[in-house]
């Protein structure tokens, strides 16, 4: 009788204990699903969904519940309301997504107060990670691409002079300043710095580029928001015959988003960009990533650098959940678990710097070429490993605070 009692108790303990083991981690995803920037949100969202679908068992018996909300326009106000409610109403334990810097900036005090980790999948303003100890970033800062490009342009491409052309908003200023710092350090000279209108409307780039062409620098470093602007830039560059005139086009990888590259035509061939991802990257993880993407979303759909960042973001979140065994209620423990995280992904090896909680990744100089099958593609010219965000390393401006 007693034996049965003890066995029964043990069995009960097992079941209760076992049931208590399986946690459901609530993850709030905040991305723009409507408006002019919806395609950016979708690129990341697809990557999130794909990762969750393929790797759900990695964290078994724990589960992940994704709650999606529209980030709204880049004003920050909607994102703040929406994310705050995710925390207070839906009780999410981790926030992720965030295409726009203003959204992340607006939320920094909230996540500090609520002690909820915010894992950024895109927003690129360098000093964002300084705003709260609960912020980690898996995407990039403008300085990841801009700064190394400065030295590369001078040393390897042979640009002695360069003009800067950028869309007139903080990422544009950030990126060109990063390039300028690196370029001048390597001995180059900046001839001109041209703001090209607001990010909302794609302007006619011709007057700006014409001005650059007339001054004839060796290179032109262009920053524009990835999307319709990129195509506009390439068209203007081609129409004005700038490559013929001897002005090389360089920039961060935002200049040649993978899903627009084919439309850019011959004008794009010879463009050199610095970035962390291209669909053609030759590593095992990327090949698997592309295969899975095409299988899920069709052969005409392509991932881009935002999708790759989204994939790695979800990877980091899943690994952290696994590491903590699903016990993610203590936000500071989650952030601590993320510090120093590293893995291989479509972008090669990525890790999270323990000091700044920002991403450390390989940066590649890439040139647009025409592949043997007739399509436009990328050739990797050189790789710099484990690049950190130089803005914070050198403590420039707001990054120093």
């Amino acid at each position: 009788m007693r034996m049965i009692g003890w066995l029964g108790l043990a069995a009960l303990a097992f079941t209760v204990g076992g049931a208590a083991q399986a946690e459901t981690v609530k993850v709030g995803v905040v991305l723009p699903f409507s408006g002019a920037n919806a395609d950016l949100g979708h690129q990341i969202d697809k990557a999130f969904d794909l990762y969750v679908k393929l790797h759900a068992n990695d964290i078994a018996p724990n589960k992940v519940e994704i709650i999606k909300r529209d980030e709204g326009p880049p004003t920050g106000a909607v994102a703040k309301t929406v994310a705050t409610e995710l925390i207070t109403n839906d009780k999410v334990q981790i926030l992720t997504g965030f295409v726009f810097s203003p959204s992340a900036i607006a939320l920094a005090p909230v996540v500090t107060q609520a002690k909820v980790p915010m894992v950024i999948a895109n927003a690129g303003t360098a000093w964002i990670t300084n705003l709260s100890p609960y912020i980690a970033r898996l995407s990039f800062s403008m300085w990841h691409h801009g700064y190394p490009m400065g030295a590369y342009a001078h040393d390897k491409i042979g640009c002695k002079t360069a003009a800067l052309a950028y869309t007139d908003f903080p990422p544009g200023k950030d990126s060109t300043e990063a390039f300028k710092t690196g370029f001048e350090k390597a001995g180059g000279k900046i001839t001109d710095s041209i703001p090209m209108g607001s990010p909302v409307q794609v302007p006619d780039f011709t007057p700006f580029f014409q001005k650059v062409k007339d001054a004839k620098p060796d290179c032109m470093y262009v920053f524009i928001p990835s999307g319709a602007h990129a195509t506009g830039v390439m068209k203007a560059y081609g129409e004005l015959g700038m490559r013929k005139a001897g002005v090389k086009l360089i920039g961060p990888m935002d200049l040649i988003p993978d899903n627009k590259l084919q439309d850019m035509g011959d004008a794009a061939i010879g463009t050199v960009v610095m970035g962390n991802y291209a669909v053609d990257l030759d590593n095992a993880d990327n090949k698997a990533f592309n295969a899975a993407w095409h299988k899920e979303y069709g052969k005409d759909s392509y991932p881009d650098f935002m999708s790759a960042a989204g994939w790695d973001t979800m990877h980091a979140i899943f690994d952290t959940i696994k590491k903590l065994n699903g016990k993610v209620d203590d936000g500071s423990k989650v952030i601590d678990a993320m510090k120093g995280w590293s893995a291989n992904g479509p972008r090669g090896k990525v890790s999270i710097d323990a000091a700044t909680r920002d991403i450390v990744q390989d940066e590649r100089a890439m040139e647009v070429i025409r592949k043997p099958d007739g399509k436009l593609g990328i050739k990797v010219l050189g790789t710099t490993s484990a690049v950190k965000d130089e803005c914070k390393e050198l403590k420039i401006g707001r990054c120093g605070s």
């Binding site: 408006g35 002019a36 920037n37 919806a38 395609d39 979708h42 041209i194 703001p195 090209m196 209108g197 607001s198 909302v200 409307q201 794609v202 302007p203 006619d204 011709t206 007057p207 700006f208 014409q210 001005k211 007339d214 999307g227 319709a228 602007h229 195509t231 506009g232 068209k235 081609g238 129409e239 004005l240 015959g241 899903n259 627009k260 439309d263 035509g265």
Partner: protein
């Protein structure tokens, strides 16, 4: 070429091409507003629709760019007729505000529909060989597409001018813009005139939309983002005036291009500063009536 002259030529050429685009897309709006007194903020949506039809024709059906432009304009022009007959007509006597709201509502619906069918990702069109690259005009090279815009614009201006000034219908339209009641009492079928003008105006907007793809890319929000520009051209030029729209398009196009070239920092400023300056002095625009 001497440097200064080179800059001037660049600004004038680029400004002219931009002005042609503004003119083609806005002239329909000006005549509609002048003739019918109807504030049609869905005009941008018609332009966007025209652009999307060109995208579909060239990408899915493999039709060449220029024929696609023509087909798209005619299609949208004809498709706009039911809107005028059954919807807009009921509001000719309403207040400006109500017309604004109705047409903005239509524009929103159009944007949502475009997003549903085409997705939010901006589109581009494949151009034929002769429109890519640049063309040599002897003393320097010019982008072919913009040269095409200027030539097309000039041709349309000539056709429209002829139609307005030298044909019967043109005379009737001008009469109706001047004094609708008088025109009606003289026996002019003003209703039919409205429908015809509206159809042509919308067709031209569609043409402008198709042409804009190469300049700005096409996404559903095109309908409202560039609407501000068209309204400015119409307001500055004066409602119902062909001359006014052309002059306004030229002034604004060249100032905007010049401003961006010479003072990129304050680039976007110019077009609005010019607008305010003109409207303060001549509230009805260059050739509008009080």
């Amino acid at each position: 070429m001497p440097h200064f002259a080179n800059i001037a030529v660049s600004i004038l050429f680029d400004g002219l091409a931009y002005a042609m685009f503004l003119f083609i897309t806005s002239v329909g709006l000006s005549v509609t507003m002048g003739l019918m007194g109807f504030v049609n903020l869905a005009h941008g949506a018609f332009a966007m629709a025209g652009g999307y039809i060109v995208v579909s024709l060239t990408r899915s059906l493999g039709i060449d760019f220029v024929p696609a432009l023509a087909i798209s304009s005619v299609t949208i022009g004809v498709a706009s007729i039911p809107f005028e007959r059954f919807l807009y007509r009921r509001l000719y006597r309403s207040t400006d505000l109500e017309q604004v709201l109705l047409t903005i509502g239509l524009a929103f619906m159009a944007i949502a529909t475009a997003t549903y069918f085409y997705g939010p990702i901006p589109k581009s069109v494949p151009l034929p060989e002769w429109l890519q690259g640049d063309v040599n005009l002897g003393f320097r090279y010019f982008p072919s597409y913009r040269a095409f815009l200027i030539v097309l614009g000039a041709a349309l201006i000539a056709i429209l001018w002829y139609a307005f000034e030298r044909t019967n219908i043109g005379a009737k339209i001008r009469a109706a813009v001047d004094n609708r009641r008088m025109a009606e009492s003289v026996g002019i079928n003003v209703d039919l005139l409205f429908t015809l003008t509206f159809a042509v105006g919308s067709g031209l907007a569609a043409l402008g939309g198709g042409l804009a793809i190469q300049l700005f890319g096409l996404s559903p929000s095109f309908a409202v983002i560039y609407l501000v520009l068209f309204l400015i051209v119409v307001a500055v030029g004066g409602l119902g005036s062909l001359k006014g729209t052309l002059l306004a398009a030229l002034v604004l196009g060249v100032f905007d291009t010049g401003g961006k070239y010479l003072l990129a920092d304050a680039g976007g400023f110019f077009i609005y500063a010019v607008t305010v300056a003109v409207l303060l002095i001549k509230p009805a625009g260059f050739y509008g009536r009080e």
